[in-house]
Point group: C2
Chain length 487, copies 2
């Protein structure tokens, strides 16, 4: 291995950080972006809710929902290593791991959802969900939510306005219908004008309108796909009765309902699946990220009826790695830990306590426009004005960069990149929460002081409704101006 | 774990085989098929070119090209287990494994192909290749080969006539143009009528015609995608100069050329990549299966120029597991073994020796219509008549079922399922080859005797040109009538 820089290689590295960056620039597609592009982090090990760089500096991980039961959980590592030494082959041979997991998994679902298809990624799962829906309904179109992200494939990008709107020349496909983001804070129907009981139905009616318009245009809906809590769209909790009404409209139109639980499933929000908080039963559920704690494994869960439609048209579904014994050993081990360590209950306790503290911070700083969350799924929306709700995008980026200095990994979400996203490994504890909130308080206090000083007046960030945060752009963020775009 | 059948659980199992089957029927989509549906095999461990069932019966694996360096190779298992205990996170953080592998990998390619995108499966790789091609050319259509298989996703199935023609109501999409399978044995241009030097150009001219017709219809070609040796299409070697001419036509039309090396790459055919046997340099190469020896990892390799086009439109390509440190630890370890054990040279030696012996068997049995191969990629095409070349599909299935009785795992390929496919782990050795060919000889001899006896005449399988193999259908295959459909 040629390396110019041999003296700066720590015992935890094979290459110096400089050489790693150099080779990455040379050989990895530039579209594959790094966190903190201008000064990226090199991570060499992880444990629980912590990651460590090449200098063994500890970072508190507040964003990696994939490392669900904690980075490198020994029970999961052991299960994977043992199975890897036994057999690592495809699902055309019988194996116990796949059926044991399928049985355990489906016990967490309403009885209708009894059939599993194992795949390698959430993207593959959502693509297969689309195939199943189209096959079952013999219809083609899809309704997805504005700001949604459902995967990196041709088909799933077409369904993800979060993606296709960001690609130059990216156009919405005719078979895709984009429903407004059902946010109660920002959007067409908010708590400013409506009661919490009305909003869900009003946003669902927008979906109804899309269905009717599609029909007029001679089109028909195969599926509605939506996260049961919206992640990339801005950590948005669905309003009461939203899915209940949407599912009814979609089913009346002959479509099926897909719940994308790839980011929010496996107990994060206090229920095993986020759709449970909406009192609905989807026809197809996709799960992924937390399922393998880092290992590429995902799954589509559906009904016997939909599965039979797929079989009936003569499909042979083969996925080289889908359902292999190692992926399922990992998935079984992850489920063990979720159960044994009561991680969902833990998430509720830590999350509820955090929400209380965040409401206090909201009272203190007017830049916090909204705080929303459930369990260890929390969004903190920053605004320059509580009246206009203008997104404080630069400030959010600044906060993230200040967190990085404090060795806390945070990130932003939402159409305007102004929502601080909190979605940590589920072992994130009360002490971590306390630390995080203290630092957030400090950062916002510093911002507040700085604004006060600069405006040279008594109208502070704490008492005015509108503040200019342009000052936090090119200056403060000179080295960290790239936001953490995450999915 | 509820289990009715506790007494039949071997020490290597968690469930009895009966319970495994029962749970599989209950919870796994029926479209996910098993080898030998009616009497499937339960595999509990693997080592080198062997797999073992729950009774510790040894099977010789002649079909699993994924277990490239041998099932559960200790060097690979060790590398994976170690990395899994350190860090298993996404490629937004710097890590040495990804860049070291990218450097090593691209050294095996012509210098133009210097950029890597890591994904989880061959399907994801081919989908990304399609995205790259469309983005770079700003054109939409794709030419693929009849009988091709490029993956299980919506987009890749559309490009795979092997798949979409088998789905009831499955129609070719307008953006897909299917070129004839360039087979020198069966098809439009064969060695019966043309010289080996002419065939490649003639089949390439068919692609040229497709391009011209597309143009007349107002369509334009983004890409030609083709395996550099055709796997599912029937273990077909491309005729001389085929890709050279096809690539020229495609590039003249503004398209790019994608070589799908997911099944045939990594030294199997004596060259690292099968496209090298055609003297061409593709614009995009997809690799997968052997890359991780069972672990879900795949890659798209392309040029700086195409990568830049992708970046230019504003793409941020994020793949949750793509390029993670564990997948790349595995890929690096696989590459170590390929290099250290000189597996490609080994493949050539064993393969050449097998081809010689297979030509002898072809002289002996007229049911062998064609034998073709390179390295450890071999196809044996069975026919009922050498004159009409009618596919001996039932016979091929019968041979596979007889092999199973002998604890040899073989499978069939091709549009008619009459091609015995040989694509074993690369550690398959001379002794294994001798055993396999002895058994094939025995099976064909038995078939020959049986036909002779039944026709009660001296016109035997060895001397006539046409034999009726219907007798090998429902009777002989009562328990094994399902062929091994493989991808």
């Amino acid at each position: 291995m040629e390396s110019i820089d041999k003296k700066n290689v720590s015992p935890l590295e094979k290459l110096s950080k400089r050489d790693t960056i150099k080779l990455r620039k040379k050989h990895i597609g530039a579209s594959v972006t790094l966190f903190f592009k201008k000064n990226p982090i090199k991570i060499v090990r992880g444990e629980g809710q912590y990651m460590y760089d090449e200098k063994d500096e500890q970072y508190l991980d507040c964003i990696n929902n994939v490392a669900h039961v904690g980075h490198c959980h020994p029970h999961v590592v052991k299960a994977a290593a043992e199975q890897m030494g036994q057999i690592y082959t495809n699902s055309r041979y019988l194996h116990d791991n796949i059926v044991i997991y399928a049985k355990r998994l489906t016990e967490y679902f309403p009885k209708e959802l009894s059939i599993c298809y194992f795949v390698n990624s959430g993207s593959e799962a959502n693509d297969l969900a689309l195939r199943l829906a189209r096959c079952h309904t013999k219809q083609k179109d899809v309704i997805s939510i504005d700001g949604a992200y459902h995967g990196h494939l041709t088909s799933t990008i077409d369904m993800s306005s979060y993606k296709f709107t960001k690609i130059n020349g990216g156009k919405k496909k005719k078979w895709v219908h984009v429903a407004p983001l059902p946010c109660s804070y920002r959007g067409r129907y908010t708590l400013d004008d409506y009661s919490a009981d009305e909003i869900g139905k009003l946003y669902a009616d927008e979906v109804h309108t899309l269905i009717k318009n599609a029909k007029v245009a001679g089109r028909s809906i195969a599926a509605f796909i939506g996260e049961s809590m919206i992640s990339c769209g801005g950590q948005v909790l669905l309003p009461k009765d939203y899915l209940k009404n949407v599912y009814k409209y979609v089913r009346d139109a002959g479509g099926v309902c897909i719940a994308d639980e790839v980011q929010v499933g496996f107990g994060r929000v206090g229920k095993m699946w986020a759709f449970e908080t909406q009192g609905v039963i989807p026809d197809i559920v996709t799960i992924g990220k937390p399922m393998g704690n880092g290992h590429p494994v995902a799954c589509v869960v559906t009904t016997q009826e939909i599965s039979k439609s797929f079989e009936r048209i003569g499909t042979e579904y083969f996925n080289t790695y889908g359902g292999n014994p190692v992926s399922l050993a990992v998935a079984n081990a992850v489920l063990d830990v979720i159960e044994n360590e009561r991680l969902s209950e833990h998430a509720v306790q830590v999350g509820e306590s955090m929400m209380k503290d965040l409401y206090q911070l909201k009272d203190k700083y007017s830049v916090i426009g909204d705080v929303r969350g459930m369990g260890l799924f929390i969004g903190i929306e920053l605004v320059t004005s509580r009246v206009t709700k203008e997104p404080a995008t630069m400030l959010a980026e600044y906060v993230v960069s200040k967190f990085k200095e404090q060795r806390i990994l945070m990130s932003t979400e939402g159409k305007y990149g102004n929502v601080l996203k909190f979605k940590p490994p589920m072992v994130f504890n009360h002490e971590n929460a306390k630390h995080l909130l203290e630092k957030l308080d400090e950062i916002l206090q510093e911002v507040s002081n700085s604004v006060q000083a600069r405006t040279s007046s008594l109208s502070s960030i704490q008492s005015t409704d509108s503040v200019n945060f342009e000052s936090f752009s090119s200056d403060s963020l000179s080295d960290e101006s790239d936001s953490l775009i995450s999915e």
